[in-house]
């Protein structure tokens, strides 16, 4: 008889699996973590290369010399902005028209769900200004976007100046085959989101914006620039976008080749490029950059206007000019030349960027790890969950076999009585934890006004505190659910619940890892050991502590500390806590304003799952 249908052999197999399971799980978990750490090292990381044939080499002659013009535009912009307090729309319109573009404006307004304390805004209304440079000899079927976000905290006046000077220079060339849109947005990313939604004629986030008057064709690529000083020492590039989406790697390769051509110092995640990849220093530095990218991608925040473009499958990058204390500085002409070169090469494109990778990790600007090489790390971690679930299944079936007085149950035996009762007792914890998750998702924002009436806190604080309160309240539940269910729940019932919880967690983490590997891996690395180890027997305080420390909130707190540590700006406990509260508020806010999915994923998906493990722990 076959291996799985022969009861004797099946029992032997079950015993083998049960005996080997613990070492296998440990091995698998260690393998997953080790694989991830090895991603920064040479065999798993490859040099980047340009895949798009149409973009070819950097063989263009940059002729931009408008550095002085850019500076004068920047000064004027800063002065008008100081005078009016908001974006000087009339001045921008006049200047863009004088440079030769077709100018349009768009007004938008949005009432945020609760006041944003970091940006100090609640009812936001503003105007975007954009000018279109039409391609002289082509139909306006495709376009490129050059955008500068202007907010209250960062004026980006030099970026606006450079935008206007580049527009003047581009207007004098005849080799443009795509329209170029020069976009200046107000209120940072809110303006960008309003413009993008109006351009693509969708309404994803509830923004009220006036319709656009001028269009320019399908957007092929976009570059965002943030520059607040006349000279820069380096250019930092941000690639991670909303919900962990990434632009096509070719766009980054393009930027990197122009950095090399112009001799500019370009950084990724604020870190310099390691030169020496043969010894240990290079890969270790690469590992730091990789961890930073993983943390940034896992947060799912758009780290610049480019993050919002990615949703519409427009490849985009954000370039930030950094002025540090280095001696060698580059002026606006150098930055302008790099941008000119990039746009000229993007002009050669015939189709959207699709030849290179869409899913990758970057240990350095010139090195990448492709999805085929990093996915096994997540696979190993999820294998632990699978093995544990298998073990529980075997144990449950053995229990069922044992209960049937040693007779040979057929391969398709109905559920043993133990499992039958367990099924009823499963429904209650599942429903209750999902309800808690739902409460965590809805109540904070819904109940903020009620909270402010009864407690002396602002709305943002009320939201955050309600979040934390519901989170902790969930921890107090297990005893209640246990009493709700009949007290004669047998000893083995917790196994069924843990089995369901493990499968639920594995499914969720698997789905998350496919679209946002960083988030999936981070959550798996923290939650998998706790999920695997939890059981009602054994040292309960230890397991409880482990579960709490690996819950979603604690993971967020820990990753914040790790992030600042890697950026060489470590936090004290108090600062960390403040940052944590601010991050919670931002997470909820971004869900409502941009459609970021981290908050609903954690609240509706992972938190209920985590509560199920808490239930398992306190089964008795």
């Amino acid at each position: 008889m076959g291996l799985l249908s022969d009861p004797v052999r099946r029992r032997a197999l079950a015993r083998l699996v049960l005996r080997l399971n613990a070492p296998l799980c440990v091995l698998s978990y260690v393998a997953g973590i080790a694989w991830f750490l090895a991603l920064a090292f040479p065999p798993l990381t490859q040099r980047t290369y340009m895949s798009e044939n149409a973009m070819g080499s950097t063989m263009v002659e940059e002729q931009f010399v408008g550095g002085d013009r850019a500076r004068s535009f920047a000064r004027d912009f800063a002065a008008y902005r100081r005078k009016s307090g908001a974006l000087p729309v009339a001045w921008l319109e006049r200047t863009m028209r004088s440079v030769g573009l077709e100018v349009y404006t768009q007004s938008f307004s949005r009432k945020l769900p609760f006041p944003d304390e970091t940006h100090e805004r609640y009812m936001v209304s503003g105007t975007n200004v954009y000018g279109i440079l039409r391609a002289p000899r082509a139909a306006s079927t495709e376009s490129l976007v050059f955008t500068v976000p202007c907010g209250s905290d960062s004026t980006n006046s030099q970026a606006v100046g450079l935008l206007l000077a580049l527009a003047a220079h581009f207007r004098g060339q005849i080799y443009w085959a795509k329209d170029i849109i020069f976009l200046v947005t107000e209120h940072d990313l809110l303006g960008t989101e309003a413009w993008l939604e109006a351009y693509h004629d969708v309404n994803v986030t509830g923004m009220q914006s006036s319709p656009l008057q001028g269009w320019a064709g399908a957007i092929q690529a976009a570059v965002a620039l943030e520059l607040s000083s006349d000279v820069v020492t380096s250019l930092d590039v941000a690639v991670e976008g909303l919900n962990g989406q990434l632009p096509n790697l070719d766009l980054l390769n393009l930027f990197q080749t122009f950095c090399q051509k112009g001799g500019l110092l370009c950084t990724l995640q604020g870190k310099l490029q390691p030169q020496d990849w043969t010894s240990l220093d290079g890969p270790l530095q690469g590992l730091q950059t990789l961890l930073l990218m993983v943390l940034q991608q896992a947060s799912g925040r758009p780290h610049g206007p480019h993050g919002l473009f990615l949703r519409y499958r427009v490849e985009a990058l954000t370039l930030r000019g950094i002025n540090s204390f280095r001696q060698y500085k580059y002026d606006l002409v150098a930055v302008g030349k790099a941008l000119e070169g990039m746009f000229r090469k993007l002009n050669h494109l015939l189709e959207r960027l699709h030849q290179s990778f869409f899913l990758y990790l970057l240990p350095a600007l010139s090195r990448f790890v492709s999805i085929g090489l990093y996915m096994p790390a997540a696979g190993f971690l999820l294998l632990v969950l699978g093995l544990k679930a298998l073990e529980l299944w075997m144990q449950l079936h053995e229990a069922g076999v044992g209960l049937e007085a040693g007779g040979g149950p057929g391969p398709s035996a109905p559920l043993p009585p133990a499992q039958g009762v367990g099924l009823a007792s499963l429904v209650a914890p599942l429903l209750v934890s999902q309800a808690m998750g739902l409460a965590l998702y809805i109540l904070p924002v819904l109940g903020q006004h009620v909270a402010t009436q009864h407690f002396p806190v602002g709305e943002a604080e009320a939201v955050v505190l309600t979040l934390l309160a519901i989170y902790v309240a969930g921890l107090a539940l297990p005893h209640n659910t246990h009493r709700v269910v009949s007290t004669q729940a047998p000893d083995r019932g917790w196994m069924a619940l843990k089995l369901v919880a493990l499968i639920y967690l594995a499914l969720q983490l698997g789905c998350i890892a496919l679209t946002n590997f960083s988030l999936g891996f981070l959550l798996a690395a923290t939650m998998v050991p706790a999920a695997a180890l939890t059981e009602p027997h054994g040292p309960r305080p230890l397991y409880a502590a482990l579960l709490v420390l690996t819950g979603p909130a604690a993971t967020l707190l820990g990753s914040l500390f790790l992030w600042r540590e890697l950026q060489e700006a470590p936090l004290s406990i108090a600062e960390g806590w403040q940052l944590f509260l601010a991050a919670l508020a931002q997470g909820v806010l971004e869900h409502y304003t941009y459609g970021a999915l981290l908050f609903p994923l954690l609240a509706l998906g992972l938190y209920p799952c985590w509560l199920l493990f808490w239930n398992v722990l306190f089964w008795k």
């Binding site: 149409a54 080499s57 063989m59 080799y175 085959a177 090469k345 050669h348 015939l350």
Partner: protein, 367 residues
């Protein structure tokens, strides 16, 4: 007095007219260099005397007026914009999407719909020398046409064989400038073909002349050096094919150019460049008279030639319309064959049964 040996020598090469088929199989801006290649050869061929009516030029023609061209209406072959090969009088016969494998093969074999204008036809005869130049992206045994189809070396060889059977050329020079170009001439089997390629199988043909002002490569190496070589040829020059084989050695071209002359009947050192790249303009003014043989002697020599001809296998066209198969006529009289073994065996069986039934003693009346 000029003897008839000299008169014979006057017609030594055997061709009376020249044609050129110049094909660029790529389109898109980043394939600028292929169009520049083809236009450079077009320019040389026109300069050396072949008129537009005898040139079939197939180009995608999307370079000069491409929105990305910083110098509209020009196609340059040298950087620093020395040489505009597009000029004022380019006559493109097959333009843009008309450059397909089907059109190319129809041009070569002459199977063209009757509505095709004369400028799009290759009206060659059995005394035409044809130059065929192809450039684009290729691989081992194929050439890519406009990013959507390919022609294989076997199809090309068969097309040339059709041309040979239809008497559409006297001699053919085939030049190809693509990656792994030598694979395209490996399969030729028709007589009187000489082939040159820019690289061997497994090698890539490299581009030349990167121009930052225009933003693309302007030429391919092999054609660049061929163009340089051709710029020194004038209609009266006596340079022969062996010199063309030496153009672009590996040190300049990085790839190894190849050539094939085994199908060609004349020795390459006797073949002038102008036999293919120029047009026959054999005029020699003489004030003396040429005394040719008497007509009768010529007639007898002509008859001898005729008898020689008859000894050769008679050439006939392949049967193009097998009427018999279509109308299911009875086959014509065939030679008599003895009946098949089956019938023989059947009769033997019948006889044996007969004698078995009626007694074996009757058999002795037969034997």
């Amino acid at each position: 007095m000029i003897s008839d040996d000299q008169a014979e020598q006057f017609f030594r090469s055997g061709h009376t007219n020249n044609w050129a088929v110049l094909v660029c199989t790529s389109r898109f801006w980043f394939n600028y260099r292929h169009v520049a290649n083809t236009l450079s050869v077009y320019r040389s061929v026109k300069r050396l005397g072949i008129p537009d009516s005898h040139i079939v030029l197939m180009l995608a023609d999307d370079m000069a007026c491409n929105p990305r061209n910083p110098k509209p209406a020009t196609v340059f072959s040298h950087k620093n914009m020395e040489l505009n090969v597009y000029g004022d009088d380019v006559e493109v016969d097959y333009r843009s999407y008309e450059v397909t494998v089907e059109n190319f093969l129809r041009v070569l074999t002459g199977r063209i719909p009757p509505s095709t204008p004369r400028s799009k036809r290759l009206l060659s005869d059995d005394r035409s020398n044809i130059l065929i130049y192809m450039t684009g992206h290729g691989g081992n045994g194929f050439l890519k046409f406009q990013d959507s189809e390919e022609i294989t070396n076997i199809e090309l060889a068969d097309a040339f064989e059709q041309m040979w059977q239809k008497r559409r050329y006297n001699e053919l020079l085939f030049i190809i400038d693509t990656c792994q170009g030598a694979s395209m001439y490996e399969r030729f089997y028709s007589p009187n073909i000489m082939a040159l390629a820019s690289s061997q199988v497994g090698e890539d043909s490299l581009s030349h002349q990167p121009d930052p002002a225009i933003g693309v490569h302007l030429m391919d190496r092999y054609t660049f050096y061929v163009l340089e070589f051709l710029e020194e040829i004038n209609p009266a020059s006596q340079t022969n094919m062996n010199d063309l084989f030496q153009v672009c050695p590996k040190s300049l071209c990085v790839s190894t150019p190849g050539h094939r002359t085994d199908l060609f009947q004349r020795d390459p050192k006797n073949v002038l460049i102008t036999d293919f790249f120029g047009s026959v303009r054999k005029v020699e003014i003489t004030t003396e008279t040429i005394s040719l043989q008497q007509y009768s002697e010529m007639e007898s020599s002509y008859k001898e030639d005729q008898m020689d001809e008859e000894l050769m296998e008679p050439l006939k066209y392949a049967e193009q319309l097998p009427v018999a198969q279509i109308i299911h006529q009875k086959p014509k009289l065939k030679d008599w064959h003895p009946p098949g073994g089956f019938i023989l065996g059947l009769w033997a069986l019948i006889i044996m049964v007969f004698f078995k039934t009626y007694g074996i003693k009757h058999m002795k009346f037969i034997f």
